[in-house]
Symmetry: D2
Subunit: 337 residues, 4 copies
Amino acid sequence: MIVILKPHAEEKRVQALMEQIRGQGVEIHFSQGTTETILGLVGDTRHVDEDWLRASDIVADVRRVSEPYKLANRRFTPQDTHVTAGGKAIGEGAFAVIAGPCSVESEQQLLEVARAVRNSGATCLRGGAFKPRTSPYSFQGLEEEGLRLLLEARRVTGLPIVTEIMSETQLDAFADVDIIQVGARNMQNFRLLKALGQCRKPVLLKRGLSATIEELLMSAEYILAGGNDQVILCERGIRTFEPMIRNNLDISAVPVIKAKSHLPVIIDPSHAAGIAWMVGPLSRAAIAAGADGLMIEVHNNPRCALCDGAQSLDPAQFDALMGDVRRRVAFEGKALL
Amino acid sequence: MIVILKPHAEEKRVQALMEQIRGQGVEIHFSQGTTETILGLVGDTRHVDEDWLRASDIVADVRRVSEPYKLANRRFTPQDTHVTAGGKAIGEGAFAVIAGPCSVESEQQLLEVARAVRNSGATCLRGGAFKPRTSPYSFQGLEEEGLRLLLEARRVTGLPIVTEIMSETQLDAFADVDIIQVGARNMQNFRLLKALGQCRKPVLLKRGLSATIEELLMSAEYILAGGNDQVILCERGIRTFEPMIRNNLDISAVPVIKAKSHLPVIIDPSHAAGIAWMVGPLSRAAIAAGADGLMIEVHNNPRCALCDGAQSLDPAQFDALMGDVRRRVAFEGKALL
Amino acid sequence: MIVILKPHAEEKRVQALMEQIRGQGVEIHFSQGTTETILGLVGDTRHVDEDWLRASDIVADVRRVSEPYKLANRRFTPQDTHVTAGGKAIGEGAFAVIAGPCSVESEQQLLEVARAVRNSGATCLRGGAFKPRTSPYSFQGLEEEGLRLLLEARRVTGLPIVTEIMSETQLDAFADVDIIQVGARNMQNFRLLKALGQCRKPVLLKRGLSATIEELLMSAEYILAGGNDQVILCERGIRTFEPMIRNNLDISAVPVIKAKSHLPVIIDPSHAAGIAWMVGPLSRAAIAAGADGLMIEVHNNPRCALCDGAQSLDPAQFDALMGDVRRRVAFEGKALL
Amino acid sequence: MIVILKPHAEEKRVQALMEQIRGQGVEIHFSQGTTETILGLVGDTRHVDEDWLRASDIVADVRRVSEPYKLANRRFTPQDTHVTAGGKAIGEGAFAVIAGPCSVESEQQLLEVARAVRNSGATCLRGGAFKPRTSPYSFQGLEEEGLRLLLEARRVTGLPIVTEIMSETQLDAFADVDIIQVGARNMQNFRLLKALGQCRKPVLLKRGLSATIEELLMSAEYILAGGNDQVILCERGIRTFEPMIRNNLDISAVPVIKAKSHLPVIIDPSHAAGIAWMVGPLSRAAIAAGADGLMIEVHNNPRCALCDGAQSLDPAQFDALMGDVRRRVAFEGKALL
């Protein structure tokens, strides 16, 4: 961590600040120039508060050199983490496809989609029981009944299930879920993240619409700090000024996260694109960029879907996509789970 | 709502779609041009799902004409809403200043700040007991003890208190709080919004860092739809590409929200600026743009604050600001509460 | 084009507006609802000014249905355009790799890089003679001497050359250049675009840092409208809030532009990434997403480059990348030019 | 400037790098920690290239401490610069209102507007002769005839004129213009900036839609470095994700620029808002935030304006606004020029 002092800071004040910093168990290297004075803080600076430093009126600026995340940091855990659900270990070299409807609508709908995606080779079944909707007037999900149907679909197809949690109060109800999803809007619901850190279930953590990569890793750090290291990160598009695309898939996030962290990273091309015909090209880009998996919306009848129909593939389209995915995953020298 | 059909859509398919739309109680005006065909949907289109329409493969695009929010909409409630806390009615013409520390740190700290801001003329006391922090290693607030101290500070100073809730499970603990704050990161925590709709307490709803104004109004709609119309909206800066400013205060949001909605709007210049010296100019801009209030961080010793010290004013700076605010609120022909 | 009238607009005023619109050779379909009235404008609405409509105080909103670009629009030119330089036709199915140094620094440097990229299989040689630099104190390019060296490098290697123009006053000096590049900062330098429309040379048009895809296509339209249809579009990263990536590669732009336009689209992963190790993953994503080519910075000694050294590959790294690119282009069923 | 070295960088390489840096006339303070090594560069680091440093494979990161602009920097020129046009010195304490039509359309139109804004108290007359338009099919301005009419309007009203230049080739034609405007799209047209640095005319430099404040100051630095210190900066809204506002007025830019630079800053609320009714609130915010002036579009008949009619005030609206502006400028203790 680097602290840049204001020009002409009073000597006595500077000494006092340095005393306080050293009191936090950190060493200081002092560089005095003609126009600026720099304090280089070395050691474990994780607990040194930037805000506290910035509040000092002799401090001009503070720059972090080392990352604020530790457990999620590849520097300290060089080996790739694999996240295991239903006996399948998702991560570097082992590619997962999580597919299913945006929301669970009925037993018939869910089983039809579940059988279709299983037959096409999906790794896991996704489906929303509790739906975070922008409008209070939109369909909010089948809730507990939706969860029950997902378990039924797992029984029938053998696919591990992934579904979204909206509050830490639901953890008991999610006890039998294989992978608990945290949606983009809850990426910084810290009460929920802490509770997930306490449980021993895989978590699929989606990046918020305007969350930085560092913030995403810090949210993962909340879960890891609780003792749960089974976290999959998911990039699903960020908010930019471009109106032609619903959410702008941040493809660079894949190599950046793989470099910075040991956690698996998957891509959700359906939410990024917002429209079915773009799911193919974005899936292809994701595989080539090094993602560890895809999360894709499939509906037996997209035109009648209760939410996000426009971005859902129908089973035939998904089957064609899976053929392409299989060929590409093999080209990358990876195994499709 | 306008539905633009694809060129050369099959006549039979178009008729079927129109039948389905009419089945939802909506009238259609049909415009056939040489290059495009347009369906104008009129009536109560609030429940007509855009996604469902977009999923049809004969639909090229869907555009909403009327706003999706109804209870928060000035069109249907032309008169300004005032939100009452501690006997003070905040809203058009009645300007509120909510001031206090970012987080409650100790009885001495809180009482010192509370007395100072009361003496300088603040309307309400703010203070965080539960703190949403990006890092799990940062100070997370005094929690229940913090709430207790806030109630004590109210007893001593008479100021109504504003503090942030993080989960619907905390509602009982917040029973004596005057105004419940929903932070930017929880703006779309829909479980929390629904629970707040059920209670009968004023809510201060902060705009998310990348939430559109329409999304903010839809989150307010969640609370209003539950029967609670006591909602104050708060703009606190949005995320842009500009690195010199922590969050970019969206000053245009003030006139836009005042035009679109009847709810009061306040500005949080402290979080927008991220640095104390910018709180003054942004406060002045907020008053001039028509805001109904300000939310300002004040700390008795900003250099030792456990969070956000850099953006906190000390009591003397706040007192000077209040002198300026008083003059400006009077200039606008409003009353300082 | 759709015009939404304000509620309670005076009948006489509405009739007058409709008269004026019809006077511009456009038909109107009129839809009167209970809460809103909609005018559907059909025919050639390209010349109907949205601003003029919005300025009417009986108009609530205006929405375009058809795209404002015509010559660049795939709807009117369904077949893919190929852009020919040095006997090579770049476009759908024919993949180009444009490689070379950020700026031309010396004869030795340029020839060394030119020979290396030719030997590794590059299609064209790039190199900046006139450099747009944020700072007036940065190296501004060798200018005319740089152009001369590029022509020399073409003579030696046989590679067509691509270099950036900064003003329409330079067109004569660029007479022997094979492909004239318009940089991101000049994407809306309309004087330059008009001049390029008048010449008969291939143009490589880079997307501005915060230009929408529609604006990029409108800038292409300027060139096409002048009679020059040899335009290659280049996505090179957009500006977002994410600080870990210099410019955020908008990978979705590739399928969107290919759907909307017949012009070839290439990707510049070097400027997007800003750092050499990310050029590989972004190049792979670009090929998979359907791009028609890549533009890559190569320097014989990146550590001593006078600009953008951090993002330049050295010849060995470029050679390794080309091996990978060759395999992937073949996998996509395309030919590497 | 701070250079952070990679962990385990070879001693010999580090020494070599330090030698090269010292060779550029810069001193180094060396800080070796357990996890990182930091080089603090002190002295005149303006010419030390960040890219060159980043390209070294023993460098992990580079952070600038001092600003890259010098002539535009308040640190080196503490006193406010005033820009003089037509005998009026615009800058701190002296508030300017530049008003007029988006584009010059006819002698009658221009003279009518010019007389109206003069009578209402405007400081300068604006009007576009050459118009940068997104579409080649939109009205491109009256060009030379437009310039002639502006000079005529100055003769009639006595108001200094402000008009936009699009290329350095037009400088001769602009010889009689009082203030030359550089539009947002040309903020980084470096050929134009250099040419303006050579002339001795006031320049009004608009911030690009996604330009950072530092980039704006660097563009001003281009003009100042040429020897022309008569530069007014203009904030006119930035591009964000918010669809309800055309360009998001960055009000924080006013106090930030005033702190960083000695140049005057004005606000263009018309382009930011994109709609006439928002010009009032944004103007009020601009004055309160400390701007040195406003640039406002006025049209004698906004409904028939050939461009940007929606955001233009009519003369009566402008007159009412000027009454408000006069009161507010006096409240701030400034003089309306």
